[in-house]
C-alpha cells in the first residue's frame, strides 16, 4: 500500500512541477514569475523527500535543507532588487 | 559577572545556536559538541553590533498556547483556501483592508503580520510608516468588519498579553 501511495504522490508532485513551469513561462509580470520559481523549489523539496522515502535513505535531506535556505535567500534578493533596484544598500 | 557578560552577550541565542548545530549534524559526539560550543560563542560576539533591542516575552506559557491555536488554525485555513481554489474562481470577492494596530514594537507587529499571512485567506501586504495600520489582502472578503474583529480577538489580544505592550 505504501508503494502505491508513494507513486501517486510522486506523480502528483511531478504534475505540480509541470504546472509551475507553465506559470513561470506565462508570467505575465515579474513578481508572478518569482512566485512560480518559489513554488517550484518548494515542490522540488517535496520531490526529494519522497525520493528519500522510496530509497529508504536519509542522505538527500541535506540537499533539501540547502535548497530551502538558498531558495528563500534568492527569492528575497530578487524581490529586493525589483523594489529598490539594488540588492545590498 | 561582567566577564560572563562580555564573552557571552546573549546566552539564549547561544543555546539556540548550539541546539540547531547539533540537530543539523544529527550527531551528539564530543567533537561536534565542542565545535558547536565554539560557534555558539563566536557568532553572538561577531553579530553583537547588528543586534537591536527587542521586546522580551513576558508570558511564555501564553506563547505556547498561542502557538498551539496557530497550528490548528493553519491546518483549517489551508483546507479552506484549497476549497476556495477548487471552487468557482469567478465567485471570489478579493479585497484590501486597512487594519488598525493596537500593538507597539517591531517584534509583536512582525509576529502578527506573519500570523495573518499563515491563516485563512489573508495576506499582510504592508505596514504604514507610523506603525499604526496594517494593510491586508483577503482572498474572499464578504464582510470587512467581521474579519477585523476576528483578527483582533483571536490573534492580537493574545499577543498583547504575551508581550504586555
Amino acid at each position: 500500500m505504501l508503494e502505491i501511495s508513494l507513486k501517486i504522490a510522486l506523480v502528483m508532485i511531478s504534475i505540480a512541477l509541470i504546472m509551475n513551469t507553465f506559470s513561470l513561462v506565462r508570467g505575465p509580470s515579474l513578481p508572478e514569475r518569482i512566485l512560480s520559481l518559489d513554488t517550484l523549489y518548494i515542490n522540488s523539496i517535496g520531490l526529494i523527500l519522497i525520493y528519500g522515502i522510496v530509497q529508504a535513505s536519509s542522505i538527500n535531506f541535506e540537499a533539501a535543507l540547502l535548497i530551502a535556505m538558498l531558495g528563500f535567500v534568492s527569492t528575497a534578493a530578487l524581490c529586493k532588487y525589483l523594489l529598490r533596484g539594488d540588492i545590498i544598500e | 559577572m561582567s566577564f560572563v557578560r562580555s564573552w557571552l552577550p546573549r546566552p539564549f541565542l547561544s543555546l539556540v545556536l548550539l541546539i540547531v548545530w547539533l540537530l543539523m549534524n544529527n550527531a551528539f559526539s564530543l567533537g561536534q559538541i565542542l565545535l558547536g560550543l565554539i560557534l555558539a560563542m563566536g557568532i553572538p560576539l561577531l553579530t553583537e553590533p547588528l543586534q537591536t533591542q527587542q521586546m522580551a516575552v513576558k508570558r511564555p506559557l501564553k506563547l505556547i498556547k498561542y502557538i498551539m491555536v496557530l497550528m490548528w488554525d493553519i491546518v483549517v485555513a489551508n483546507l479552506a483556501v484549497a476549497k476556495l481554489i477548487l471552487g468557482p474562481t469567478k465567485a471570489l470577492q478579493p479585497g484590501f483592508i486597512a487594519y488598525p494596530l493596537n500593538l507597539t514594537g517591531d517584534l509583536p507587529i512582525t509576529l502578527l503580520a506573519s500570523t495573518i499571512s499563515l491563516t485563512p485567506g489573508t495576506l499582510s501586504a504592508e505596514v504604514s510608516k507610523d506603525k499604526e495600520w496594517l494593510y491586508i489582502h483577503a482572498l474572499d472578503l464578504p464582510n470587512e468588519q467581521a474579519l477585523i474583529d476576528e483578527i483582533k480577538q483571536r490573534y492580537e489580544t493574545p499577543l498583547k498579553e504575551i508581550f504586555q505592550c
Binding site: L2, S29, I45, L49 | F96, S114, L123
Partner: protein
Amino acid sequence: MNFAIELILSLLLLLGGSLILIGSLGLIRLPDVYTRLHAPTKATTLGMGAILIASMLFTLFDQGSLSVQQLLITLFLFISAPLTGHLLAKTAMHQRLKQIDKTKNADLIEVARDRKAPNHSSD
C-alpha cells in the same frame, strides 16, 4: 512495519501531494497577482508539512532513529513562507500591477505603496 503505520504514512503522503497540487493549480487558475499569492504561501506550506511529517515517521520506524533535520526544514519553510508572501505583495504594489476590477477597496493600494495612513473620508 505494521499496517497501521503504513496507513498513516499513505494518508499523509496523499494529503501532502494533493495539497501541493492544489497550490500549483491555484497559481494557474486565480485571476490576478494578489490572489495568486495566496495559493502557494498556504496550500503548499501545509502540503510540505504533511510530507515532512510522513518522512520523519518513516525514518523513525524504518531505521529506528529520529531524524530531526526534517523538523528543521519544516520550521524553516513555515518561517519563510509568510516573509516571501509579504515581500512579493510589496513588490507587486511597487510595480503597480493591475488588480482585477471587482477588488474591494482598491484605492488602498495607492496609500499602502507610500506607507501612509489611510484617510478616513473615503470609507
